[in-house]
């Protein structure tokens, strides 16, 4: 009882603190101030992403260019999480006791409506994901968003077809090579322009598909890496056998 009162008290304190800090800010309005004030960071980003980098999506310009090193760390975190999960749960097929090598996923097969729908939707979902990360510097979205959309497409196939499986070696190689390519792109900037992940000065024109220098290239690598990683995580999780109780 005392514990519960204490928890409610803490929650109330947290609520009051949150209200005191955010309650007075108007909902959905500009809280930073005028963006044309050149002293603010947001003005710097907005100005430079359009003028210097010729990147239409300023969020992508910040994530991949101005804060590119943080993104490398983010990708590393995702990679370590996937590797840890796989090292705990991955089991070789040889260790299976039963004769059949079918992954034991769902006891009942999916209905023909679901199977046909999945067959039609799967390429469309893949296409949407690829579109999102290829156009990361033009439209909202990017490598992480496109990668997770592609992973949902694979998820649809995993839960619909019992026999559907990805080629594990191809996925692991794609993941490793795209991660390596990201680092190599950073090293290219370090060697040629003197700073890690430095963008090329040859940035093209605003709103072109090939614009922003190395930004689309890096986001394509991130998209491939995130999609293969999340698919591998799902593949590992789907193939766990339920414990006999």
């Amino acid at each position: 009882m005392l514990k519960k009162i204490f928890v409610w008290f803490l929650l109330a304190v947290l609520g009051i603190a949150l209200y005191a800090s955010f309650g007075r800010a108007p909902f959905g309005e500009n809280r930073v101030g005028p963006t044309d004030n050149p002293a603010t960071v947001s003005a710097f980003y907005l100005k430079n992403s359009a003028e210097k980098l010729q990147t239409a999506n300023s969020v992508t310009a910040i994530v991949v260019n101005f804060r590119g090193f943080d993104t490398l760390g983010e990708v590393t975190v995702l990679f370590l999480a996937a590797t840890g999960l796989a090292s705990i749960l991955y089991r070789k097929e040889d260790e299976d006791e039963e004769g059949e090598h079918l992954p034991v996923r769902i006891n009942l097969p999916a209905s023909s409506i679901v199977r046909t729908g999945a067959k039609i939707l799967f390429p469309l979902i893949l296409l949407l994901g690829i579109y999102i990360f290829v156009h990361g510097h033009l439209t909202p979205g990017g490598g992480f968003q496109g990668g997770s959309v592609i992973a949902t497409g694979f998820l649809l196939m995993f839960i619909t077809y019992r026999r559907f499986g990805t080629n594990h070696k191809v996925m692991v190689w794609l993941e490793s090579l795209s991660g390596l390519a990201f680092v190599l792109t950073g090293l290219y900037g370090l060697i040629k322009y003197g700073s890690f992940l430095q963008n090329t000065p040859d940035v093209g024109h605003l709103n072109d598909l090939v614009s922003g220098g190395l930004i689309p290239l890096i986001y394509i690598f991130i998209g491939i890496k995130v999609s293969t990683e999340l698919t591998n995580v799902l593949d590992t999780l789907m193939n766990i056998k339920p414990k006999k109780r």
Binding site: G28, I132, G141, Q145, T152, L155, I159, I240
Partner: protein, 98 residues
């Protein structure tokens, strides 16, 4: 405009109700589905707040991937919150005795 505000209010009520349901519900499968509903409404809100990239991420990860991962976990462990906790308590008691 008024219909839009009504829409927002209804979505907010659904969001809070689903979140409370996920906390209260003892059957973990229903609780996980309720968190999926929370993510669904949240992604609509992100879209309305002019953050379409966050909305895409929330839709893909929150609705699809997280829900499925929790469902796989439930399938491999147990579906009832109470039984699981009693089982755990018993296991700890047995360990102390031995």
């Amino acid at each position: 405009m008024t219909t839009f505000i009504l829409f927002l209010v209804v979505m907010g009520i659904i969001l809070i109700a689903a979140a409370l349901y996920a906390v209260i519900q003892k059957d973990l499968l229903y609780a996980v589905l309720a968190t999926g509903v929370v993510s669904l409404v949240l992604s609509v809100f992100f879209y309305l707040l002019q953050a379409p990239d966050v909305a895409i991420t929330e839709a893909a990860i929150g609705i699809a991937l997280t829900t499925i991962i929790f469902i796989i976990t439930i399938r491999n462990t147990t579906r009832d919150e109470d039984i699981y906790s009693e089982d755990l308590i018993n296991r700890f008691k047995n360990k102390k005795d031995a």
